[in-house]
Symmetry: C4
Subunit: 235 residues, 4 copies
Amino acid sequence: MSTADLLRDLVTANRIIAHEGVVDAYGHISVRHPERSDRFFLSGSRSPELVTLDDIIEYDLDCNPIDLRGRTQYTERPIHGAIYRRRPDVRSVVHNHAYEVIPFTVAQNAKLRPVLHVAAGIGAEIPVWDIRHRFGDTNLLVTTIAQGDDLAQGLGANRVVLMRGHGAAIAGISIQDSVHTSAHLKINAKIQAEAMRMGGDVVYLSEGEIAEMRRTSAGHARAWEYWTRRAGITG
Amino acid sequence: MSTADLLRDLVTANRIIAHEGVVDAYGHISVRHPERSDRFFLSGSRSPELVTLDDIIEYDLDCNPIDLRGRTQYTERPIHGAIYRRRPDVRSVVHNHAYEVIPFTVAQNAKLRPVLHVAAGIGAEIPVWDIRHRFGDTNLLVTTIAQGDDLAQGLGANRVVLMRGHGAAIAGISIQDSVHTSAHLKINAKIQAEAMRMGGDVVYLSEGEIAEMRRTSAGHARAWEYWTRRAGITG
Amino acid sequence: MSTADLLRDLVTANRIIAHEGVVDAYGHISVRHPERSDRFFLSGSRSPELVTLDDIIEYDLDCNPIDLRGRTQYTERPIHGAIYRRRPDVRSVVHNHAYEVIPFTVAQNAKLRPVLHVAAGIGAEIPVWDIRHRFGDTNLLVTTIAQGDDLAQGLGANRVVLMRGHGAAIAGISIQDSVHTSAHLKINAKIQAEAMRMGGDVVYLSEGEIAEMRRTSAGHARAWEYWTRRAGITG
Amino acid sequence: MSTADLLRDLVTANRIIAHEGVVDAYGHISVRHPERSDRFFLSGSRSPELVTLDDIIEYDLDCNPIDLRGRTQYTERPIHGAIYRRRPDVRSVVHNHAYEVIPFTVAQNAKLRPVLHVAAGIGAEIPVWDIRHRFGDTNLLVTTIAQGDDLAQGLGANRVVLMRGHGAAIAGISIQDSVHTSAHLKINAKIQAEAMRMGGDVVYLSEGEIAEMRRTSAGHARAWEYWTRRAGITG
């Protein structure tokens, strides 16, 4: 896929995560440069629903813009840079504050885990990272390289890391994958919370089932076509 | 009703279940061939909201396409074939993952039962089937004839079978019936979950009430007209 | 107000209760004849969102149509006729199945009561009527004069009566009043259910507050203007 | 900013709080006069979604209109006047009934507190005011100067005061700020209620974090752009 096509997918992905309620005014999605693994693309500071091609900025992994052209930047771009640096397998990152997910970042007794087969991509283990552990009282935003590194360390080898009182970071092997995972993180959170309220034990997917589901990942193309159309993109 | 009219209803039904939130990117609805009980019609692999007449594929009960013409198929078509084989009374099948229903497939203490009169069509007994019991760790998708048969056996003589960590299969006597049942399965699940949280006992419909309601099934035509218009079909 | 203007309001009211989620495919609203208190107007069998002036049928209080002209009738029209017969003060009736309200009809320990000032119109006492008490196993629909009478007796001198496993009937002094009450019945149910889940006692409106609120009923005109516009009626 | 621009922002703010579900038919937003601190602007009695420039009325701090021109007034304008009188730092006030917030006004054991970083603006301490304590049984509306004063006293030096069985008043340093705070009050309430239901302790933002977040208040401009577009304002 050419870089131009990839950037068009990135714009589409911004619209999709907005339309599906994965993000609201806040949140962002990035993609690693297809030809230079030490670069990534991320929009300038704008709500995902409004992002266009002109907003996309190229960054090095220290989060320095290659050619800013006066555009305002997201202060939280270190989330992206740090994950790309630590995880060569990751090609796309979403950061968001889905309302269904946040309760799992602050409720001490609850642990987010996959209950639904199409949500298997969120992974068996979803750590919760707390910026306070290393950085004390902050505004909770991940705005320095050191904070981004600490978050990336919290993510470890997993697909998703929750951020206490803030949201989540999702690491995917493609734009389509990080969109699919972040959308189903939200859906799984909603369903799991409801099941937990029903009083008895909840049956989660087994490790074997999660592995099988991720190996096959059927239906991703179908979901991408569906979400693209719903977001009003006809191209 | 001619086969052509029936297929138009099938397309309408796809739009309706998408618009009413019975399905999202995933899920499907089929109808048995009106003239050949050993055949059924099901869309190719596409989200229900986007299905058109050109997507509809004719299948035999072993889920072999009669004339594929290069279209991609749903891998889970054995859900449909197996139910049509075991249940000559069934003329339409819905498979879906409604978010309100899934908690009842994984919460050990909760049992989905009709609380609302217009939901009586879901039936007094709604079994929960678990693919793991016979097939061990899988990706949970029902992709083989053997898995479809096991599910159809789990359904038994009922209208609905829940699938652990996955969704549901709904068996109707017509397209309108399977749409009505799957829509009200979701509505009933939402209402029942809320009532269960209120602390005391919940009054469910009696067997006699369910039988009376299904005998009369008033209002199906009114709902169909309403849902068709809401889905933007003016025809 | 002329009868013609009143019927236009009735059509508007149908659209409003559909748009605000007070009804879905089912449910209806009627108004007493402004010049003949032994007559009322109610749509023929059609979902409220689709009702037009041509659908409105005039009835006597025994629910006989004055001039049917081939239109299909709601089978549950005795809900309306019976309430108008027993309650000369009532000039408009809504029957609906709002999803937020139904849990309160089947949860044994929960009692719907006003918690929100603008919902005071639902009244301090909201009885729950069960068709089974006098009529045994039925399809729960109120289709006979005797059933309607029993329901109207259950309503008593109140504004709202809940119907077990079915929905509610709301009695107003005008179309605007029954719409306002049924909309806020739903809003109050949602809020009260949430408050009940928070663990401690819930503070309900006092009888004195309910009386004060109903005496003043400020803001009804503002809500009507708002709902009319939202329902797409510009007139 | 000129007064004309400010009034345009006030109209935009009305549309935003309607579109984002901060208000429904009821609720209002005002702004202090930029040149005369003893005046404020507030719409005439109309639902926020419908407010236009022509609806905006100028008031003194006793809530007397400067030039009414036959327009109907909100009876609850003393909420605004009283807060502007007691709190010179406040430049914009929202009064609303968001459904997610009201449970916290009536549930005895629940206390609304920030759990989400972007909601830090609601403040560490959110008092609940009850009109009954000083005024006995009323219709709960704040319609007199004395009632407004009592509410403003209840607010104290905080950003938000909850009103039992009624809603909330939000005090901001600008239109954008009061809109942001009231939108996130609702989002925080929804998330906190969900977290509370998960059974264990909930981690709230620390005082230090709240202070840091409010000091930086990053992203307000991005949210304003986003909400403006979503509300259909292109200007």
